[in-house]
Each structure stands twice: as C-alpha cells, then as structure tokens.
C-alpha cells in the first residue's frame, strides 16, 4: 500500500439555521483554507460527498463545483454519501500511483427541509418507506434494542455539548436540564442531534510529498468500511457487527487509541460504537463534541476524520481513530486510523 496522509483539514463555523448562503458559497472558504495551508492550487483528484435530497435539487453537487475553479477540466467524482466515503474513494484513487494529491470535501444544509422525514427517502421503498418510518423512529428502535441506562445516555449528551461549547466550529448548546420531553420513546429530545449547516474539506497527499508539505502529516495507517443488511429486522440492532469488522480490518486494536471521533448521532450509537471498536477508558471520545454538538449531515463523518487527524497534525496525539456511518441505524460503517509519522 502506498502511504497516504491527511495534510490539511478545514471546516466551517457550523450554524443551527440557514444563513442563506448557496452551497458553493458555503464550501468556498474551506476549500480556500486547505489550499492555503498546503500551498496546492490543483489536485490530482477531487471527490465530494453530499445528498441532493437535503437541498431538494437534482445534481446540486454539480453546481457545488463552482467553488473549486474546475477549469481546465479536473478529475472529479462524487459520492451520494457522507464525504468520509469520498475520502475513501480518494484514498483508493491515490493507491493507483499516478497522482499524489487529492481534495475531498463534504457539505450539507439540513436546515432547508425536515431532516427527520427526508431521511425516510434513504429507506427501502417496498417495505420501510411506505410506512413513513422516519429518522427518529428507527433511531428510537435501536435505542430500545440497546436498552442503555438513561443516566449513561444523559451523560454522553452532557459531555458532548460541553465539549462542543469548547469547539469554535460546533454549536453552543446548553447542558440538558433533565426535564426535556421525549422525541420518540425511548429517545429524549436532547438525544437528537442538532439541525446543522456546514462543510468541511481535507487534502490527502501520497508518498514523500506529505512530509514535504507539512511537518506532522497524519498518515492513514488503516481504513476500511463494512455494511450490514438494510432491513432492520434482519440484524441485531443492539450491536454493530459491521463497525466491528471495519475496525478489525483497519487495525484499530493494533495500538493504543488516544482519541476516537465517532459518527454517533444519538447517544446510544456511541455506546454501540465504543463496544464495536473495542475502545476503553484510555480513549478520549469525541473531544470535538461530535455529532451531538454539530451535525452538518454529509460532512459529519468527514469531520470525524478531520478532527482525529487534527490531533495528529497539531501534535497532541500520536494515534487516533475516526468513524463514519451511513444508512439507518449504523448500517454502513467506515473506520480510519491516523498516526503520526
């Protein structure tokens, strides 16, 4: 395998409401920021992740290219998934060996519609979508399957929001006061991630180039994704076999994990993922606040990779793990290990 490293990460100061910026306007500053940090103006490959249903506009990702300066024509691709999978595609592309740099970005404005019911559109159209099964309903089923203590769930929300308040890019959400009502039981309203608009970008560099661009590249020493059956009645919702498989394939357990950034949109998902990834007390979970403090859908998973890499880039960690998820109830899981050289 060719060495590939994260050499720059940037994200917007995420907002809890629509500021009226177009998607290219939202993306442009983070693209500029990673170009400036690396000194790169052009990239061997560009890949983005977004979802047209968020804006309700077909091929909205194409107009997002306006943020890139895409002329003369660039080599570009897109995943209709969280941009963490755009990073995976870029990592695979860099393995071909003919190019040395890749730009990855993701963006989402979940403020424009009703995210809870837009998420129904990702479900199987024969058996699930006709029931109107929505995001909070299927998450509540998984929370019921986990059956965690309310105290443990509340503490995850409290810790995530407190860390989010310390993160200039995340939202400032108050400590839950314990009196909040239910969303879909057993989920409480405070268990639901905040509606968030935002974007993020990462630059990958392969081989020797990474070390020439910056002092402490965050090398991707493991990356793998695994998927489970879509239909919720065909898997054990209390566990994530696919996250555990991805973690094994990425080699999470081959060394100490100082920081783990988990794409846990609900507190019970954090419990599932800590178990699946085999993370213990020695690992700091979501020091950025995680998705419970800022959840710009389609960029949230990429931000987990960026936040994990940032700890290596700034020298505060030598080995960190990032997790990204897609599909209902953690159907699809991507695990990335980043390490200092």
């Amino acid at each position: 395998m060719r060495d590939v490293a994260i050499v720059a990460f940037a994200q917007t100061r995420h907002t809890s409401r629509d500021t009226g910026l177009t998607e290219p306007e939202l993306i442009r500053p983070v693209i500029d920021e990673v170009k400036e940090r690396t000194g790169l103006r052009r990239f061997g490959f560009t890949c983005s992740g977004s979802c047209d249903y968020l804006a309700g506009a077909p091929f909205s990702f194409v107009s997002a290219l306006d943020a890139l300066a895409a002329w003369p024509p660039i080599s570009e691709s897109h995943v209709e998934m969280d941009a963490a999978w755009a990073l995976y595609e870029a990592w695979v592309r860099l393995q071909h060996g003919d190019i040395d740099t890749a730009l990855v970005y993701g963006f989402g404005k979940s403020s424009l519609g009703d995210l809870r019911t837009i998420m129904t559109l990702q479900l199987d159209p024969y058996y699930l979508a006709p029931l109107g099964l929505d995001q909070l309903s299927y998450a509540a089923l998984q929370a019921a399957a986990v059956g965690a203590e309310r105290k443990e769930l509340d503490e995850i929300v409290r810790r995530s929001r407190a860390d989010g308040r310390g993160n200039p890019y995340a939202l400032d959400l108050p400590d839950p006061d314990g009196a909040e009502g239910h969303a879909v039981r057993p989920l409480k309203k405070t268990d639901v991630p905040p509606i968030t608009d935002g974007a993020a970008a990462i630059v990958l560099a392969a081989g020797d180039l990474a070390g020439r661009l910056i002092a402490n590249p965050a090398y991707i020493t493991g990356i793998a994704h695994r998927m489970e059956p879509h239909y919720l009645g065909m898997r054990n919702l209390a566990l994530s076999a696919s996250a555990a498989d991805a973690a094994r394939a990425a080699g999470v357990g081959k060394g100490p994990v100082e920081v783990a950034e988990l794409h846990a949109q609900f507190p019970h998902e954090e419990i599932i993922l800590r178990r699946a990834l085999g993370l213990g007390e020695e690992t700091a979970i979501n020091p950025s606040g995680g998705p419970l403090a800022a959840n710009p859908v389609m960029a949230t998973g990429l931000i987990r990779i960026g936040e994990a890499a940032r700890r290596v880039l700034d020298g505060t960690a030598r080995r960190a793990v990032a997790h990204a998820a897609g599909g209902p109830c953690l159907q699809h899981n991507l695990v990335t290990v980043v390490e200092a050289p």
Partner: protein, 294 residues
C-alpha cells in the same frame, strides 16, 4: 411561509408517485399480502426471511423458490413509542413501532402496533395484524398490528326487588325520624346498631329498640377511588363508626373532611338531611363529619 420575498417555498415531488418494479420475490410477497396472507422465503440454509429478499443477507446466496406462510401473529422483539405521529405514519394516534418476529419466521418484520398505551407493549408481546379494507399489494395492506387478545369484557347485570321488613324496617323508620335505633341484649347487655331481633352472640331475643346518640368514633376506614352513586365525590371515605353507647360499629360514609385527614379514633357526628327530605332510607344520613368541624 414567510412573507419575505427572499424566502421561497420549494417542493420536490413525483406527481402520482414513482413507479418501481418489484421483481419476482418482493412481488410474490406483496401479492400474498393483497390476498391477506404473509409469506416468507426460505434460504438455502433453511431460514425463513420475512419480508422476503432476493438474496440471503447472511451469505449472499440467492434464496430458494420456496415460500412459507407465516404468522399471521408474531412476537415483538423491539419497540419504540411515538407520542406525536407524523402525517406519513400508519396511525394518527400514539402508537408503537415494533420489530415483530412472525410465527414461523427467522427474521423480524417492522410495522406499527396500535397498543393504546406504551405500557401495553414490550419485547415478548404477542401481536396480530389488522388488514386494510382495500388491499392493493403494498406493505400497508397490513394497516397495523394489535396486541393479542388476552382479556374480554363480560357484562353482568341482574335486577332484584329488596324489601325491608322486620328489624331493618324498625331501624329505617328511626332514621326517617332522625334517630339511630339499636337493641340491647337482655342476656349479655351488648348494644347492637342497627337494631336487630336477636343477639348473634348468645342467641337471646332482643326487646324494644333503644335510641342511640348520633355521635361516635371512627374505628377503621377505607379511601375509595372508584365512584359510587351514594358518595359525594372520588375519592371518598367509608368508615366503621362506633356510635357512643353501642358495642358494634356500623358502616357509613365520612364527609366534610379531606380523605387524607381521616384518622382512626376521630370523633364524628351524623350529618342528616333536612327533616322534610328524610325518608326511611340511609340516604337520610348524608355522612358523618368530624365533630370539631361540624
């Protein structure tokens, strides 16, 4: 919608709906549903997938062509409760989402359960389908599920004609005059109220009734939370009241005091209906009220 001209409504919709082909496996399942049957498909390993898929998610192998009728009842494995249904949900009142392992299936079907109350459903609850009146070949041909029948309501009502003769008649005629009549046993000297013809302890015949005071002491009581036509409100208190000079308490309502303040040993006095409303009936005694308050 905002009146701000810079804010616009935007709707994404396929008018009339988006047409999708089902393929043979899902098509068979939906056709069976339209005929009000639920079928699963058997995998090469012998498991029964419900709802059927074309490939076994455990192995990736194509499923066999064998369809197995399952259910229609099943057991809830996981459930969540919706307090405020959305427009697109199967029910317009609070309901449960549930994963339901139908009898004979090895996987769980996701559907709505009309359980009425979140306490009425839990893992292990047995549920049965309620069919849509006009099945069209879709998952909503099952309108929803309902919990298995575990109880029925059996109406009971018979009517009787009761007549107060003998000693009770003597007692009630006293009540009509605003007096409690008791009887003293000539042998053991115990005083009984209401008045009675003989002593239940020693068997002696009791003679003329004696008038007793309408004051007494609560010896024990119960707080009743089910409404009763004779009681003024819920909760109400019924008590054993030992009338002064009597040896046996009689049962009466207690009023004029909050239920939680009633105590054993409390001194009480009868609250009578006004004389012009009194009849030979216990309704002539409204209740007993604490003496310090009356």
């Amino acid at each position: 919608m905002s009146s701000d001209p810079l804010v616009a409504r935007h709707v994404l919709e396929f008018p009339g709906g988006y047409t999708r082909t089902t393929g043979p496996v899902i098509g068979r399942f939906l056709s069976e549903l339209r005929a009000r049957r639920v079928v699963g498909v058997r995998t090469a390993e012998g498991r029964v997938l419900v709802p059927p898929l074309e490939y076994d998610p455990a192995t990736g192998e194509p499923v066999t062509g064998e369809y197995v009728e399952v259910g229609p009842a099943g057991t809830v494995t996981t459930c969540a409760w919706v307090d405020e249904p959305l427009d697109a949900h199967p029910l317009d009142r609070p309901f449960a989402w549930a994963l339901i392992e139908l009898d004979g299936a090895d996987t769980a079907l996701l559907h709505a359960v009309d359980a009425g109350d979140p306490k009425a459903i839990a893992p292990g609850t047995r549920v049965w389908p309620v069919w849509n009146d006009h099945p069209t070949g879709g998952i909503t041909d099952i309108s929803h599920f309902v919990p298995e029948v575990t109880k029925i309501v059996a109406p009971v009502r018979t009517e009787y004609r009761l007549q107060a003769g003998g000693a009770l008649r003597v007692f009630l005629e006293g009540v009509a005059r605003g007096v409690f009549l008791g009887g003293r046993c000539p042998s053991c000297a115990k005083v009984y109220v209401p008045y009675r013809m003989s002593c239940p302890e020693c068997g002696a015949v009791i003679g003329e009734p004696v008038e007793l005071p309408d004051t007494g002491t609560i010896t024990t009581f119960a707080i009743n939370n089910l409404p009763d036509p004779r009681a003024p409100q819920v909760p109400f208190v019924s008590a054993y009241i030992l009338l002064d000079d009597a040896d046996i308490p009689m049962i009466a309502l207690v009023g004029g005091v909050p239920a939680h303040e009633v105590r054993e040993g409390m001194r009480v006095r009868a609250v009578w209906a006004p004389p012009e409303e009194r009849t030979a009936s216990m309704t002539s005694v409204r209740w007993f009220a604490p003496m310090e308050r009356s």
